[in-house]
Amino acid sequence: MIGILRSLTQVVRVIGRKPVTIQYPEVHREIPNRDRAFPILLWDAPIDEPYCTGCHACERACPVECMTVVMKDNPKHATGESKRRKIIDEFWIDYGRCMRCNICVEVCNFEAIGMNNTWAGHELSRYDRKELVMDLDMLMSQSKAGKVDPGLRA
């Protein structure tokens, strides 16, 4: 019973220590800069258009094939506002499928896609799986609003 008494003292000793619980919905743990949530598209604010040219590089590299990219001619190129000949027309990412491997970010030549590193990228519960298929507006809304963490690596 000596060993049991040792265990008991150990357990009693822990009562005095600080609990590690974080009151989650009220208190958000600080997440590191490199945190990889789900991919989002970035907004080129000076030119007022997305960085993405719809080149399909990420779509091809995606291991789970969760992306669908449609490209179009950039109307702003014609007017000379932008140097991008082509621009993204439609972009869907199925967040339910994405496995957050970071490969799309690595293959992107235009630094147009990045892994969301804010809590907005994690708290994505939905009642329906279909709602997890994000379209272009949803993917760009965070960047458009300027709420992207500066540490985001694209």
Partner: protein, 376 residues
């Protein structure tokens, strides 16, 4: 049965009892049918495959970078070991020279991963033994510190995808060395706590000792590896016997059990954690302050020459091997994972027969299986 009742009234029957896949102590979707004579197991029929996702076949359709993510998802408690086995296979095929700094970081992270995996074992094993989650909550906060470090370095808490063919995906954080030292402080505390709580506890001892004992010959015959094998008295550790990466630069000890029972497996894991701390400290001392982290002349599109290779690493659960056949090109022609959980699980029946039902739970717990790794 009703019609024959009067004939069989004094007949003693064995009860087949279905344990899992939703039983609290089967560690995932594992199912075993125990044939019980009272409380004693007369036979154990394991059923696996609930988690089968065709991971090996999937990886044959992936190029070498895409496959790394699937390694994480196969062995989700020792992700770095799994990644290391896979990238080492490709590197050997491509005959790449890995820079020192990358190798050291790989060793540090893999050993930290071993710590976090064994913490998981300690917690879950305590619950199997019947400690009301106390071992779990002692192990998990400390495991969480390790996981937070991984998140800072790799960006993800669980599915790191950080080791790449030829090195690492990106440089570690600036304060990496200091952070590892901080994490080790917590780890040591967790080890002390668990040691105090369980090791000398008489009830824990009486529950563990002499149960599921395997001799060295039996263990080798069943192809056990890792702590299971070492607890049976075979000093076989790939870090010693077939040093990969930079493991030949560290001085450490390999704990070997003398009884081969559940208690020895627990002790071996506990001691292994102390040795891991030791290795990490040495690696931190030797870690080059700066240098490349990716092999030179690495092509943008990875293509291997035709050939086949088997690379193995000492994962927390045992020998994690990747057998890779390539016919050239950017995808494996055939990929086979030799997963330690699967091979260790094969000994379950032999170990459980003649033991009590409660011991079957302990034996399964002492194997520390990862069901994803078993079914792949």
């Amino acid at each position: 049965m009703v019609t024959e009742q009067h004939d069989r009234s004094l007949e003693v029957v064995d009860i087949p009892i279905n344990m899992g896949p939703q039983h609290p102590s089967t560690h995932g979707v594992f199912r075993m049918v125990l044939v019980l004579d009272g409380e004693v197991c007369k036979d154990v029929i394991p059923h696996i495959g609930y988690m089968h996702r065709g991971g090996e076949k999937l990886m044959e359709a992936m190029d070498f970078r895409q496959g790394i993510g699937y390694c994480d998802r196969t062995e989700y408690l020792a992700q770095f070991s799994a990644e290391l086995g896979y990238v080492m296979a490709v590197e050997r095929l491509m005959e790449l020279e890995i820079p020192d700094r990358a190798e050291y970081i790989r060793v540090i992270l893999t050993e930290l991963n071993r710590l976090s995996s064994h913490f998981m074992f300690m917690g879950a094993f305590g619950i199997d033994a019947g400690v009301f989650a106390t071992s779990f909550t002692y192990a998990f906060p400390q495991r969480e510190y390790i996981q937070e470090l991984f998140e800072e370095v790799t960006g993800d808490r669980l599915m790191y995808a950080y080791f790449r063919v030829g090195g690492l995906a990106w440089e570690v954080t600036d304060n990496f060395v200091q952070r590892v030292h901080e994490v080790l402080v917590h780890t040591r505390q967790g080890l002390r706590d668990l040691d105090e709580l369980l090791t000398k506890n008489e009830i824990f001892m009486v529950r563990c000792q002499g149960i599921g004992a395997f001799t060295a010959d039996q263990a080798i015959a069943y192809g056990l590896s890792g702590p299971m094998l070492r607890a049976s008295g075979v000093p076989w550790d790939l870090r010693k016997d077939d040093p990969y990466s930079v493991y030949d630069r560290f001085t450490f000890e390999i704990p070997v059990g003398n009884h081969g029972d559940v208690y020895d497996r627990y002790l071996v894991r506990l001691e292994e954690m102390r040795q891991s701390v030791n290795i990490i400290e040495q690696a931190l001392e030797q870690l080059p302050a700066e240098g490349p982290i990716v092999a030179e002349k690495l092509p943008r599109r990875l293509r291997t020459p035709p050939g086949e290779v088997y690379s193995k690493v000492e994962a927390p659960r045992g020998e994690w091997g990747v057998y890779l056949v390539s016919k050239g090109g950017d995808k494996p022609y055939r990929l086979k994972m030799r997963s330690p959980s699967f091979c260790n699980l094969s000994a379950l029946r032999e170990m459980c027969i003649g033991q009590f039902m409660a011991d079957a739970v302990m034996i399964l717990g002492s194997m520390d299986i990862v069901l994803c790794d078993v079914d792949r």
